[in-house]
Amino acid sequence: MTELQTAAVLFSLMIAPLAAAGLALINAGLGRSRNAAHAMMTSLCAIAVASCAYFVLGHSFFGSAGEPARVLTVGRDTFDWLGAMPPFFVRLPAAGSPSFLAALMGIESVALAALIPLGSGAERWRLSSICISTALLAGITFPVFAHWGWGGGWLAKLGYVDTGGAGTIHALGGLTGLAVVWLLGARRGKYSSDGMPMAMPGHSVVFVLFGCMLAGAGWMGLNAAGAILFAGVELGRLALIGVNTILGAGAAALVAAVVTKVRFGRPDASLTANGWVGGLVAVSSGCAFLPPAAAVLIGLVAGGLVTFSVELLELRLEIDDPAGSISVHAVAGIWGLLAAGMLGRFPGGSDVMLAQVVGVATLLGFVLPMSWGINSLLDRFVPMRVSRDGERQGMDLFELGAGAYPDFVTHTDDFMPR
């Protein structure tokens, strides 16, 4: 890597944490006011735990292209299946080297992935359980899949392309969120006795929409850094990455706004926000290799997919996902991986569609069962769900001892048993 590339990656990684800040605000805003402080507190704890777990164990499994790895030989084929770096960043080449930058990218990526399930399990997932679950995600699930796709593993050798982390960060986080919701169940009062969902609107649309804007800035950084580090993209393409990122998000948000306007008579702010983030997620996979028109097309489809997926999960499958994380991150992420294979223009005209399908199959067949198994086992020792009384009282008072807005008048219906 040239010095200019190193500087570009460093700058990109400096703004990338804005994506995490944006997601945390979105998660907090889409929850009720009695859980707002808990939402921000769990986000901060998840980032802290994910960073430490990645440092202790995660990076040794993630590895990096060209670094030591565990290889399985089947006949004449070899499968690079796990990184073999020493733990605690020991013997990591000096700061500024590609390996060190990959470690920084790994920390920021795993922190972002750890925030995604928090949106799904919001308002009923206990802080202690969140911390242990995040440690397992950052120490095992994420680094193993990230090694396959980003760290020169068997999936990368197959041609899999995911420069911005549509699969590695978002689909992985979204599928973990699905496993978490399956284990937690719905919030009390969310469904009536005949299975009809009740509306539980978020308490701050302003938080949600501001979070979307922050996320847009952070996403550009993450996409740019990933493209240089994991796909060797030249600096001239950075502007294209930025353009594609914003175009994808904008197109998706517009579709979500139009769809909700047509269906409900008014554009829905929270679904429009979900559409925006869904567009960011979907375009991440191939952002460095897509013409702008393709980014718009990917965003348009992502906006529609997210809107209908939120409704399908809530109404038909009775999956209570307060922040829409499963639709936004898992569904849009999987769409983004496939769309990159269909619409991307890769160096040498290579066809990566098969590798993208295999990547999706790996997310569904490895990441989802593994996340379910890990969290299911954890639930036996550290119960995930808060008590009935705690849920009624609100996670702020029950777990933190203080509300987010002590000076404000609280809506009494927030405390009514459902």
């Binding site: 197959l158 199959a361 569904l364 067949g365 198994g373």
Partner: protein, 59 residues
């Protein structure tokens, strides 16, 4: 049903892995990968249905 669904998810993935390891390109490889993905979709549907709450548990 929950376990069966999760096993189907893993089985579909193993089918995909086997296709990549044992078949060298062509229609057969693509067909097996698609079949593996289809098995996973079945597993996803089965797992999703298994997690639907029992009516008397709600409220």
């Amino acid at each position: 049903m929950k376990t069966a669904g999760l096993l189907l998810l893993v089985s579909g993935w193993l089918l995909v892995l086997a296709a990549i390891a044992m078949l060298n390109g062509g229609v057969a490889r693509n067909a097996f990968v698609t079949a593996g993905l289809a098995v996973e979709v079945l597993g996803l549907i089965l797992t999703g249905r298994a997690h639907l709450p029992v009516r008397s548990d709600r409220g």
